[in-house]
């Protein structure tokens, strides 16, 4: 087990290193001079040249990379060219809003999706199953901003039971904080719920056809117990895997959702940074999000032994 964890940590570090090379290269090799981009349309060639020298853009790429990566390892993601604040502290200031929506989404979506998948599998082929799976396909097909504006129009503008947009910090007012998170979390969670529900259903149908389930039924165990204790436990690994992989959807969705609901989180930070061509911020946010995603998937892998004792490393 210990050696497996070490090996996985090693490969995670390698992936993170590759990610940083990719992020560095993609933004450096994209057509267009970053110095010109940062300096803006009205900059003179001299200004651009000075900026190039200041940013170290005249050095060879490997040298630039080593210098940048050395700083990243020390926790220095650079300084915003717009506000002159360190990128890491900008991300820190925006983290609360983003984490709030993401956790609320997980809290709503995961239990809902697993229940939907279990119910659909138990009633496979009936209209309940068809309705739930149609919902899942629809969930895949509705982009977050369409769902978001639909919810805002119905619940905030027409019925006036929900806030239109905005975010209230948790320290200010817990009730209003939660109230403002409902619509964004539903928006963000739809595709995630659809994904998990589909995998849960498929895995459960497979498990339910196995011999030990037939034995359990023959013993006369109640169906609820068979579904939850016998089948779901054995369907755990694929479900947990997709919960982990799906985090990527949440990270992408959060950018759109925060824009729809005007929430000052990390997603808005990066959208604003793009409008301002704030290069270090874009780079920093992508790097941090990728690192979180990779580490979460490491945790998912390691959790397999807890879910299924048959798996050992």
């Amino acid at each position: 087990m210990a050696s497996y964890i070490l090996k996985r940590l090693g490969s995670t570090a390698l992936v993170l290193f590759l990610v940083s090379i990719l992020v560095f290269l993609l933004l450096r090799l994209a057509p267009g001079d970053p110095a010109a981009v940062i300096a803006g349309d009205n900059a003179s060639p001299e200004q651009i040249a000075r900026l190039r020298a200041m940013l170290g853009l005249d050095d060879a790429l490997p040298i630039q990379f080593v210098r940048w990566f050395g700083q990243v390892l020390q926790g220095n993601l650079g300084v915003s060219v717009y506000s002159n604040e360190p990128v890491l502290s900008l991300i820190g200031q925006r983290a609360e809003a983003t984490l709030s929506i993401t956790f609320t989404t997980l809290l709503i979506a995961v239990p809902l999706a697993v229940t939907m998948g279990v119910v659909a599998a138990n009633r496979a082929g009936t209209w309940v199953d068809r309705a739930l799976m149609l919902f899942a396909v629809a969930g895949f097909s509705l982009p977050a901003f369409v769902v978001g504006y639909l919810l805002v129009y119905v619940f905030a503008i027409q019925l006036q039971v929900m806030p239109v947009q905005g975010y209230v910090p948790i320290a200010e007012d817990v009730g209003r904080w939660a109230w403002h998170l409902v619509l964004p979390a539903v928006t963000l969670g739809l595709i995630y719920t659809a994904l998990i529900a589909r995998i849960t259903r498929a895995t459960m149908i497979e498990v339910l056809s196995e011999d030990f389930i037939r034995t359990a039924r023959a013993k006369g165990l109640p169906m609820k117990r068979i579904l939850l204790r016998h089948a779901l436990r054995n369907a755990g690994v694929p479900i947990v895997t997709v919960i982990g992989i799906g985090i990527a959807l949440l990270i992408g969705g959060v950018v759109v959702t925060e824009t729809v609901f005007n929430i000052p989180g990390i997603g808005r930070l990066v959208v604003d940074a793009i409008a301002r061509r704030d290069y270090p911020v874009i780079q920093g946010v992508i790097l941090v999000c990728s690192a979180i995603y990779v580490l979460l998937n490491l945790l998912t892998d390691l959790s397999y032994t807890l879910i299924d004792p048959r798996i050992s490393y």
Binding site: V15, V19, A138, S141, A202, A248, I251, V256, V270, I274
Partner: protein, 288 residues
Amino acid sequence: MSITSMPPVERAPSAALLFARRNPTLVAGGAILALMTLAAIAAPLFAGDPVTINPARRLRPPSAEHWLGTDQLGRDVFARVVWGARVSLQVGLLVAIVSVAFGTVIGLVAGYFRTADALITRFMDGIMAIPAILLAIAFVALAGASVWIVIIAIVMPEIPRVVRLVRSVVLSVREAPYVDAARAGGTRLHVIMTRHILPSTIAPLIVQATYICAAAIIVESALSFLGAGVPPETPTWGSMIAQSRSFLSRAPWTVFAPGFALALVVLSVNLLGDGLRDWLDPRSGRRG
């Protein structure tokens, strides 16, 4: 007894009808998609003018003259929705083709050559670790807005999915007796690849390509919505929603007409994919 009074002969349903009855999702998805594609291609013939600004006719509700109303600049929403389909479908189709083409070649190499495999797999893990939308918006923001830049930006994160799929198929057939036999018979490498290995990947690739197409249409609209998509003067569903969102309460049609079109296209592509999956591999999905 005359001929006309004979009981009607039970006619066997035509092959097409039978196919439709057995594969309802495939046919429904395909039909909607075909209709919308046709409308997109024929846009110049019937949709009208999507760009001319007419301040006198701002935010008019749907009427006989403007089927889906007008937007905040007095432009016809119906015309813009139909023209917007062109960008969405074009990007979806091209992203699917390009990522499948690149992914297949890389996947074949990774699956067949062990030495290349480790490097390629790590590299693909690296790309997969970067959230696709973030990667795409950063790339478009720096490279400048054009349809091809948007396509490249969406293709990059999709390639690893294809590589994984092709690689796993190659690994499962690489040691199959017929491939061994071909190798032993001195068949050249590129013939083994294209004649003996590639055909096994085609069915799963077709299904994967439809899912990639659906994902690409969503990402393109999200990019346009966030202001990092194709040039803003081109009508796209994402940019229509972004430009009209402050008029949501006064003129909901300006937001929901493109939103509905977008959802319908993606839904039809997803249905087509699910239908193809069940049709090409009846064992998966329909077990219950």
